[in-house]
């Protein structure tokens, strides 16, 4: 097990109170696993992803443990996390297009960053060049400023930089949204390549584009309103989903190309609950076609089949 998360709970502090964006998430990743993380916007997928590397100003760690290669990540401690960032956990941000300092030559920025992390730039240099070749970036990019690169080039440069120190866990947050379809495909294939070459051990790919996930992800985890709904191998999620929400999500996708809308699901009546004051129990129960009285209790995230985790009382009943 490379990543093991227990009861991770993270809230957002707002003036109106705490937003329960991530509640008691427990799951694990095996070595070499690429897990796709899907759900409507606001379901907590980005919260889950970013909380593993950097809690932003308004995010509050509430409880839970994160074990990476058997070592606990002190995610509540911004300074303490510094040691793990980049080396153990790394991030390809949503904003890859603007992630690099516009007034520094890329090579110089990489150099300064590497030195600041107490690594030897000259030692890393040959590997850096090999990886640039791998993603088909000319080595001259190191002498350029970010604005001199195209969108796709920036995306690849950020991928190379983020994985340069061979992190154990890589979080890729909506990496493909700014790119056109053919570039998206290339980028996703590169991610898999990085895993195959063991630049990264395991990966969480956050996206709203399931077609992307079906190409590269070994497993898919679906979230709803801050709770985990289901996690299973990719094929299983697409063909034999068990959680009512996942089923609705998959069935609402157009048959050609598996994509779902970022917006509210139209096929399902109702709206996701406000997480400022979330309903007790299963948060999907108001919209769920099969909900019953038991659903006022929070369902555990249980492994019903091998590697197939579901949080639904109805499913447990049928399975039992």
């Amino acid at each position: 097990m490379s990543l093991n998360i227990e009861n991770l709970t993270v809230y957002y502090q707002t003036l109106k109170g705490e937003v329960h964006a991530l509640e008691d998430a427990s799951f694990s990743l095996t070595d070499g696993e690429i897990m796709g993380l899907a759900g409507e916007s606001g379901c907590g997928k980005t919260t889950l992803g970013t909380s593993l590397i950097l809690l932003n100003g308004r995010m509050r760690y509430i409880r839970g443990t994160v074990l990476l290669d058997g070592q606990e990540l002190p995610i509540w401690d911004n300074r303490g996390m510094d040691e793990f960032r980049f080396k153990q956990v790394s991030l390809i941000p949503q904003y890859a297009m603007s992630a690099m300092n516009p007034t520094r030559r890329i090579g110089k920025m990489v150099h300064e960053l590497i030195e600041a992390r107490h690594e030897d730039y000259n030692e890393i240099m040959p590997e850096l060049k090999r990886r640039l070749d791998l993603v088909e970036l000319p080595q001259e990019v190191l002498k350029l400023y970010p604005i001199e690169l195209s969108g796709g080039m920036k995306q690849r440069m950020v991928m190379v930089l983020s994985t340069l120190l061979n992190p154990s866990l890589l979080i890729a947050d909506e990496i493909t949204s700014a790119l056109d379809v053919s570039t998206q495909k290339a980028v996703v294939e590169m991610l898999a390549e990085f895993r195959d070459r063991k630049f990264v051990k395991s990966m969480i790919v956050i996206t709203h584009d399931i077609s992307i996930l079906s190409q590269v992800a070994d497993s898919i985890m679906v979230m709803y309103a801050g709770q985990l709904s289901e996690k299973a191998p990719t094929e299983t999620i697409i063909r034999h989903a068990r959680h009512p929400y996942t089923k609705l999500l998959i069935s609402s996708l157009p048959k050609v190309g598996i994509k779902y809308s970022e917006e509210i699901l139209h096929g399902i009546p109702g709206k996701p609950p406000l997480l400022l004051d979330p309903p007790i129990g299963c948060r999907f129960r108001d919209r769920c076609p099969v909900a019953y009285e038991k659903c006022t209790q929070v369902p555990p995230f249980l492994e019903l089949d091998k590697d197939h985790f579901v949080a639904c009382w109805k499913e447990f009943e049928e399975h039992a």
């Binding site: 502090q13 003036l15 100003g57 308004r58």
Partner: protein, 285 residues
């Protein structure tokens, strides 16, 4: 989020924002002094009521000038002038800036290019050098003329900022919708675009207001201000000419400076407060 909810949210943050409150209270106090102060003046403005200089006393609240004029009367009337210059000069500059910025940012193309060149030209010519040459040939100058000159020369940076904002709004969906429905350009600008940057325009006005006050004070002090009446800048000009500094008549030159600094400083601090209210990223959580 719906519209009324949003307004309430701004109001909520505005009421909680210390900078905004402190700034507004200071400005308000000085406005009250400018409006009601003259009612309490015991001596007419600029008349030689005392034989010579007097320090503040029960009779002369703020003392008298070297020539025996009542400083209190000069101060309260001068404060009024300051606000008039700020409103007219700052208001005119904001309006011109809006006009040029809206049209340039919305129309784009060669219209934008021409407006941009004009803006840049006026931007580099120092306002006060331009006023210097205009003022030199006007025999009689009033506060109104001064304010208009200031307004006519200080709009460029507002135009630039507003142009950039308009440019980003002009490509939004709701503007496209208005265009498709055949709305006239001017109507789109004032119905669709202006309301969406109200907060921004208001902040621009506040900065222009403060800037106009400072420019006027400098001009008056150099001797390019109104030839009649009184202003805080003129008071400082008279005080220096009357050797108030050498003779230590502090009550003559300290109050006008304090008033200008307090009003302009309070306006700037209000502006920071407003920025925090309208820009959630800057709010302290």
């Amino acid at each position: 989020m719906s519209e009324p909810k949003k307004k309430n949210e701004f109001l909520y943050f505005a009421m909680r924002n210390g900078k905004l409150k402190v700034g507004a209270v200071i400005v308000f106090i000085f406005v009250l002094i400018a409006i009601f102060g003259p009612k309490f003046a015991r001596y007419p403005l600029n008349e030689f009521v005392a034989g010579g200089p007097n320090p503040p006393s029960a009779d002369f609240y703020m003392g008298t000038t070297a020539y025996g004029q009542d400083v209190y009367a000069q101060f309260v009337y001068g404060l009024g002038t300051t606000f008039i210059v700020g409103i007219i000069g700052g208001g005119l500059a904001t309006l011109l800036g809006m006009l040029v910025g809206f049209v340039g940012g919305y129309k784009g193309g060669w219209v934008d290019e021409v407006l941009n060149i004009i803006t840049n030209i006026i931007l580099v010519i120092p306002t006060f050098a331009l006023l210097l040459i205009m003022v030199a040939y006007l025999k009689l100058r009033g506060v109104l003329i001064e304010s208009i000159f200031i307004g006519l020369t200080s709009w460029p940076w507002a135009a630039r900022a507003i142009r950039a904002q308009t440019f980003s709004l002009a490509n939004r969906e709701f503007v496209d919708l208005a265009k498709l429905s055949g709305m006239k350009t001017m109507k789109i600008l004032f119905r669709e675009i202006a309301p969406n940057m109200m907060s921004y325009l208001f902040m621009t006005f506040i900065l222009q207001f403060g800037g106009a006050i400072l420019t006027a004070a400098t001009l008056d002090f150099i001797g390019l201000g109104p030839t009649q009446g009184v202003s805080l800048g003129l008071m400082m000009n008279w005080a220096t000419n009357g050797s108030a500094l050498l003779l230590g008549y502090w009550w003559w030159f300290v109050p006008p400076g304090i008033a200008i600094t307090a009003v302009v400083g309070a306006l700037y601090i209000m502006n920071v407060g407003l920025d925090e209210v309208f820009n959630p990223k800057l709010r302290e959580m």
